[in-house]
């Protein structure tokens, strides 16, 4: 059931520290000043004139640096203020009239924002300049003048643009998550049929999106781990995507590099593909498994590793993916036998995997609540996990996830 939806924040704000706020202010102001300068000359010179070269350079540089820092450039007109990447930008008193003029011009054209997720080429900036000519194009869409569209830059049009931007990002989030889950489900399907597996690079791109999105909207990203499906056929994909969400979030909180978070995400997506080799009747059985079924389930980690290792990739990421799939199901302190070797990814995945499994209804038991799941993980199942990591996970990620529940 949907609860009363809270009013969305006007502009999505990126994670930051004081240093990045100051840097964003500086770059945002630089971009605004450059745009103002362009505007000032737009009525006097041809849009191809060299007089625009310095401000366009400055604008491009600012955009590039913001892309480098935040991964995106979003200039929004919210009320009377300009926001850059969600942060209100102060302008020097001397530039206030020009900023006001810029605001008026943008409103006049129905533009409420300019954004770029990649470095805009010079040609795009020249085309942006064209919009400020005395005779602007009769019609604009998100790529500017439809007759000469931007390659990279995008416009937000109309009063709902800010909200639309947020919706669009939420949409991207949902799509990336869905692509991750669908990839795993489809992979399992292909493996069951003995058909060629899906290209790993597709998964790599999906996980790149997930890592980028986690950085820009961590709470909404983490909320994706709440997705559950009733259809048993879809369970493994959604489970893997949830584990990826949890692992990427956990990795981010630990301060892991972008590459390592990607490795974790990839390992999460592939950690249960071995289930393809287990008959559906075993996976969907609600009662106790017979000996054959138990043996098959116990073999699943090795079967997952097999599905990864058969591709013949020997990069560290691929090997770690295989090992994590195998090791995340091992007990850190087994009841008998020697201590197993479990790598870092395996330790992280073991925690995220168990957490998602415990909070999901399975054919053989109902879902546990978040609190109950964390209690089980830190008490009766503690022998399975790295105690330091599980404490951090419960203290940070599980708590954050609880905060994403309707009503907090």
């Amino acid at each position: 059931m949907k609860g009363p939806r809270p009013p969305p924040p006007p502009v999505e704000v990126l994670p930051e520290t004081q240093a990045t706020r100051e840097q964003r202010q500086e770059l945002g102001e630089k971009a605004l000043v450059a745009l103002c300068s362009v505007l000032r000359n737009a009525r006097s010179y041809s849009w191809e004139h060299d007089v625009f070269a310095p401000p366009l350079d400055a604008l491009q540089q600012a955009v590039l640096e913001l892309l480098g820092t935040d991964g995106t450039f979003e200039l929004d007109l919210a009320g009377d203020a300009f926001h850059v990447n969600g942060q209100p930008i102060r302008v020097q008193p001397g530039a206030v009239p020009l900023a006001a003029a810029l605001r008026t011009e943008l409103r006049h054209r129905g533009v409420t924002g300019i954004r770029a997720s990649l470095a805009p080429p010079k040609t795009d900036l020249r085309l942006l300049l064209r919009l400020f000519r005395p005779a602007p194009p009769p019609r604009l869409d998100d790529r500017g003048d439809p007759a000469r569209p931007f390659k990279v830059l995008r416009l937000r049009l109309g009063p709902e643009a800010a909200q639309a931007g947020l919706t669009e990002r939420t949409e991207r989030l949902a799509e990336a998550y869905a692509a991750a889950a669908a990839f795993v489900n489809q992979t399992i399907q292909q493996l069951r049929m003995g058909a060629p597996a899906l290209p790993v690079r597709t998964a790599a791109r999906i996980v790149q999106d997930l890592v980028d999105l986690q950085r820009s909207m961590p709470m909404r990203f983490l909320a994706l781990a709440r997705v559950k499906v009733e259809e048993s056929d879809r369970y493994w994909g959604v489970h893997a995507a949830n584990v990826a969400v949890l692992a990427i979030t956990f990795g981010s909180r630990l301060g892991l590099s972008k590459k390592r978070r990607h490795d974790l995400g990839m390992a999460a997506l592939f950690h249960d593909v071995g289930m393809a080799a287990i008959p559906k009747t075993v996976l969907q059985k609600s009662g106790k498994l017979d000996e054959k079924g138990l043996r098959a389930v116990k073999a699943s980690p090795l079967l997952s590793a097999r599905a990864i290792l058969r591709e013949g990739e020997v990069s560290a990421a691929a090997l770690e993916r295989a090992q994590a799939a195998c090791e995340c199901h091992l007990d850190l302190v087994p009841r008998e036998g020697p201590l197993p070797e479990i790598g870092f990814s395996g330790r992280i995945l073991a925690i995220c995997e168990s957490f998602d499994a415990l909070t999901t209804t399975r054919p053989f038991r109902a879902a546990h609540g978040l609190r109950e799941a964390t209690r089980i993980m830190t008490s009766e199942q503690l022998f399975r996990f790295d105690p330091q990591l599980v404490d951090l996970f419960v203290g940070v990620v599980a708590r954050m996830l609880a905060a994403t529940a309707p009503g907090g």
Binding site: L64, V152, A178, Q186, A204, M217, A223, V238, L319
Partner: protein
């Protein structure tokens, strides 16, 4: 853009293109990337300084700037432009602040076949997270339309996206506010290093053992061949990266591996390991300054097939002297596949290699091949070869007889004859002949003792006859007395070693003072008789 300005940009991009093309030609030489790229950096920096950013379109085999082709890749489809384009990169943008480390990181990701070049260029550039080099890429998170699962995948995405949207929309305002703050990381750099060492060697070693477990537990199914190939690639990569301990662990694991498919797995891996180039690399790695290096060649060669002899010999010829013994031993174990080469090693190889080869010769080939080692210049090698000649009882007397004339080998040859499985009289004949020859007077005490001991151990009528003759009829003459007495004493010892009834009787007779033998001989006979009787009593008592 003025002509001069255009030339500046064109020159910079062409310079970069040429530098990257040079790296494409030798992508694995990562250490040289920086020096190759350095000349391209100033031009690129100048262009970027002048224009703020320089965006270049990537095409298959070319770079284009503002519609003008500024660089054509001579390597065509094998070049970096094609790789970038194939992987989805459509434009590259160079911004201010470009430094050599960033350019090098870019090259590592962009060059095909480079250390990072096996993966997807977009992925590698994304991971490299380069501040001053941005890229525009085609969307890659969907399956190509041509993929058989594309339609099902797209439908599944749509269905699941609806669920995901609901979950995200539920996030309330307070929680969304948390999106604005990013608390400091929980771990310090030190903790990262400690908990997540990111060692390729470690994960590769564990992955190799995982493959072995999959095969051992009969879970490989129709992927057995693919897993064999993966294991072989892992081994290749370990060798390339000089990860000797991991390599040893992987190879020893393969040798230990059980299960129904283990022999087939080992056979596949063995064939790969027998590749001459790989063997040469293994020989190089065996000299690495790590403890595990000593175990590498034994572990490696243990998996080689029986016909790997020629490859081993080739590696042996190129190898350093300290690793030659291991290769020689492995070749000797497979001497059926390269008998002439092994023979050469036994004749002319270094002493250590020849000795290792001798020790490793299969039982069936020992006698045949050890003959070659008799011609070796080193006495230690020859001495080691002598007992091996005795392993073929039919040929042992014939092959060992000439060695009784060789002062260096005489004692060992006599010993070998005494222990060979040939009929005692046949084995004793060359010893008797040597002792009966006039030149036997020149034999040293040690050799003489060895020859008599050999006869004693052999027993048999011929040995017995000779010993009894020497005991009963010593040579006469003042000058020969000492020698005769010495030979009598040796004969006593030999007969005592013989231990037969006839030997006992002969000793009893000789011990009789009436026979007129020297007191030392009489005493020795009495002692021997006593010893033999005691031994017999013990034996009979037991019965």
């Amino acid at each position: 853009m003025a002509d001069a300005d255009a030339a500046l940009v064109h020159g910079a991009l062409a310079g970069l293109g040429r530098a990257l093309a040079r790296l494409s030609a030798d992508p694995r030489a990562a250490g040289q990337h920086a020096s190759s790229l350095e000349p391209a950096l100033p031009g690129l920096r100048d262009a970027v300084e002048k224009y703020g950013t320089v965006t270049v379109a990537v095409e298959p085999g070319a770079l284009r700037f503002e519609g003008v082709r500024v660089y054509a890749d001579e390597l065509g489809a094998a070049g970096f432009c094609s790789r970038l384009y194939r992987d989805g990169i459509r434009a590259l943008t160079f911004g201010r602040g470009l430094m050599l480390p960033e350019l090098t990181a870019f090259a590592l990701a962009a060059v095909p076949g480079g250390p990072e070049g096996d993966g997807d260029a977009v992925g590698e550039l994304w991971k490299a997270d380069l501040g001053s080099i941005q890229y525009t890429a085609a969307r890659g998170d969907r399956l190509d339309q041509g993929h058989p699962a594309a339609a099902a995948f797209a439908q599944e995405v749509q269905r699941l996206a609806a669920r995901a949207r609901e979950a995200v929309e539920y996030v309330d305002a307070d929680a969304a506010l948390l999106d604005r703050t990013q608390p400091p990381p929980l771990w310090s750099e030190e903790q990262h290093r400690k908990s997540d060492p990111q060692s390729w060697s470690e994960v590769a070693r564990r992955a190799a053992l995982t493959i072995q477990r999959i095969v051992e537990e009969d879970l490989a199914g129709w992927d057995l061949e693919a897993l064999e190939e993966s294991f072989a690639r892992l081994v290749d990569e370990m060798a390339r990266r000089t990860e000797v301990p991991a390599l040893v662990a992987a190879l020893e694991g393969a040798a230990r591996m059980g299960g129904a498919h283990a022999p087939a797995f080992r056979a596949f891996v063995g064939r790969r390991l027998a590749d001459p180039e790989r063997l040469v690399r293994a020989a190089e790695l065996a000299t690495a300054p790590v403890k595990a290096a000593a175990q590498l060649l034994p572990a490696w060669t243990a998996l080689l097939p029986v016909d790997a002899g020629p490859a081993l010999i080739a590696a042996l010829r190129a190898a350093r002297e300290d690793v030659a013994p291991a290769l020689a031993a492995a070749a000797a174990q497979r001497c059926d596949s390269c008998p002439d080469d092994v023979a050469e090693v036994l004749r002319e190889g270094s002493a250590a290699a020849a000795q290792a080869a001798l020790a490793a010769l299969p039982e069936a080939d020992r006698a045949r091949m050890a003959v070659e080692a008799i011609a070796h210049a080193d006495d230690e090698v020859r001495l080691q070869a002598v007992p091996l000649l005795a392993s073929d009882p039919a040929l042992a007397p014939e092959r060992l007889a000439p060695l009784l004339d060789d002062p260096a080998l005489r004692a060992r040859a006599a010993e070998a004859l005494s222990s060979c499985a040939a009929p005692p009289d046949e084995a004793a004949a060359p010893i008797v002949e040597r002792l009966s020859a006039s030149s036997s007077a020149k034999l040293g005490d040690e050799d003489l003792g060895a020859l008599y001991r050999a006869l004693g151990r052999l027993g048999g009528p011929a040995a017995h006859a000779f010993l009894s003759g020497r005991l009963a009829r010593p040579a006469k003459g003042f000058l020969k007395r000492r020698r005769s007495e010495q030979e009598q004493l040796l004969a006593v010892e030999a007969l005592a070693a013989d231990g037969s009834m006839s030997a006992l009787r002969l000793l009893e007779e000789t011990a009789d003072p009436k026979r007129g033998h020297a007191p030392a001989v009489v005493s020795a006979c009495l002692a021997a008789v006593e010893r033999l009787r005691a031994r017999r009593q013990v034996r009979e008592g037991r019965k």
